[in-house]
């Protein structure tokens, strides 16, 4: 079941992202469905699944992006991995912890893009991308992630479903 779901995500999300997601755009910025999916999967299913699905989604996204063929592959893989690691640190996965994770990971990924894609531009150009791309996309990703998490029919709670150590919020 899971592999089929992941395969469907890999094959279905990028066509959606390139053609229909503009309906969800806010100030001309669209949410990143692949980031949300990689983050959610990592957060709920663990770092290995998150990283693997993130890499597959990122690679597919790279095929339909003007950037280099490795940028999304690495960043989405990292998002899945880090979301998984973050998910391991919480005893009870709640909406708030997910939103914090999504905001952090989305901002981190966009900062990587800022330095890789706009690295050659002057400081003013780079700073202008913060309110025009980074902030709206981060908010959209977190909102979409939270909405999807809320809609999930089965939400894991506690260490039993998560298969994780009962350690609570630890540093």
């Amino acid at each position: 079941m899971k592999p089929a779901l992941y395969a469907a995500l890999v094959l279905g999300l990028v066509p959606l992202q390139t053609s229909l997601v503009h309906y969800l755009s806010f100030v001309g910025v669209r949410p990143d469905l692949c980031l949300v999916a990689a983050g959610l999967i990592g957060f709920l299913a663990g770092p290995v699944e998150g990283a693997l699905v993130g890499i597959a989604l990122g690679f597919t996204q790279d095929l339909f992006s003007a950037g280099a063929l490795w940028l999304n592959l690495i960043t989405k893989g990292s998002v899945g991995l880090l979301a998984g690691l973050a998910g391991r640190q919480v005893t009870n996965a709640t909406l708030a912890t997910l939103v914090i994770t999504m905001v952090s990971l989305s901002a981190l990924e966009n900062l990587v893009f800022l330095f890789v894609v706009r690295g050659g531009g002057d400081l003013g150009d780079r700073l202008s991308a913060l309110p025009s791309i980074l902030l709206p996309e981060t908010l959209l990703n977190a909102a979409l992630g939270a909405a999807l998490y809320w809609l999930l029919p089965v939400r894991p709670s506690g260490e039993q479903e998560m298969g994780r150590r009962p350690i609570g919020m630890v540093g």
């Binding site: 390139t18 693997l52 339909f64 992006s65 894609v117 150009d125």
Partner: protein, 293 residues
């Protein structure tokens, strides 16, 4: 697949680390490897992408149809029922008329343009927010290659940066990573046209002695970028001439509305300098043959 032992997980993580190392240590080789893996995947994805693009057009047409009908008052409901059928047909015919005009414009441009071109449809936008790029429904199987220029009836759109068997990515002229050599049509001064983060374009490296005016038209110079000479790039709206600098620059509004692109022409073979766009028969085009070297 995902019910794995810790040993399998370690192997998976090791594979991931190896893949990432390959990307950084052997960038060229890894790029061709990724391209090799990606081509069949892109081929597979082009089908749902085309279908979703068609669905998107349908949704947009339905939405605008709904908006057009929304303002009819309740008193006219009975009449509206009769009218609705007619309006539906009228909308269909109007849409067909608009599509016909658009295609005629593309065809007219194709006839005026001496360069060899290939008509393509826009089926999507870049998968991230960091590039201003569009996806075309034509790819390497149709003869599209990287660095080819892309234009609409009004002017230049961008250049091809990535090609898959059935699709191609086009980086728009408003993207900050894009650069095309431009020519000020009136003064014949050259410069580099780059995109700006605000979604406009800017012409840089214009000689200080050039007498620019707001409203001057910038066209492609034909020297680089896969375009023939004379394809309109945009119109100057602001001139920046800072004291002590060696060059002046100008802000440009693109000639083409890049948010409403549906059909474009890929320039598969631009002709040498001087053999660019011919003026249309009815009214003079944005570029004349005057001033050619």
């Amino acid at each position: 697949m995902f019910r794995t032992t810790s040993g399998t997980r370690r192997v998976m993580l090791l594979l991931c680390v190896l893949l990432l190392s390959l990307v950084f240590v052997l960038p060229k080789q890894s790029r061709s490897l990724l391209q090799g893996i990606g081509q069949p995947l892109a081929q597979l994805l082009s089908l749902p992408m085309t279908a979703l693009a068609a669905l998107d057009r349908g949704v947009q047409e339905a939405w605008y149809g709904y908006l057009a009908l929304h303002q009819v008052s309740e008193e006219n409901r009975r009449l509206q029922r009769e009218l609705q059928a007619l309006r539906g047909r009228n909308n269909e015919l109007r849409e067909l008329g608009v599509a016909g005009q658009r295609l005629a414009a593309v065809l007219g441009l194709k006839e005026r343009l001496k360069a060899k071109t290939l008509a393509a449809q826009v089926i999507g936008w870049d998968a991230t927010n960091w590039y201003r790029a569009i996806v075309l429904d034509k790819g390497s199987r149709d003869g599209v290659k990287v660095e080819m220029g892309v234009m609409a009836p009004d002017g230049a759109v961008g250049r091809v940066v990535k090609v898959m068997p059935f699709t191609a990515m086009v980086l728009l002229i408003t993207d900050p990573n894009n650069a095309v050599t431009g020519l000020i049509q009136r003064t014949r001064d050259e410069g580099i046209v780059e995109g700006t983060p605000e979604g406009r374009a800017r012409m840089k490296y214009i000689p200080l002695l050039a007498t620019l005016q707001s409203g001057d038209v910038i066209v492609t110079s034909g020297l680089t970028g896969g375009f023939p000479r004379g394809v309109p790039l945009g119109t100057i709206t602001r001139i920046d001439k800072a004291e002590g600098e060696l060059f002046q620059s100008a802000e440009i509004v693109p000639e083409v509305d890049l948010h409403k692109l549906e059909e474009v022409l890929v320039i598969t073979d631009p002709l040498p300098v001087g053999d660019g766009l011919e003026p249309p028969a009815a009214r003079p085009g944005p570029v004349s043959s005057e001033g050619r070297p």
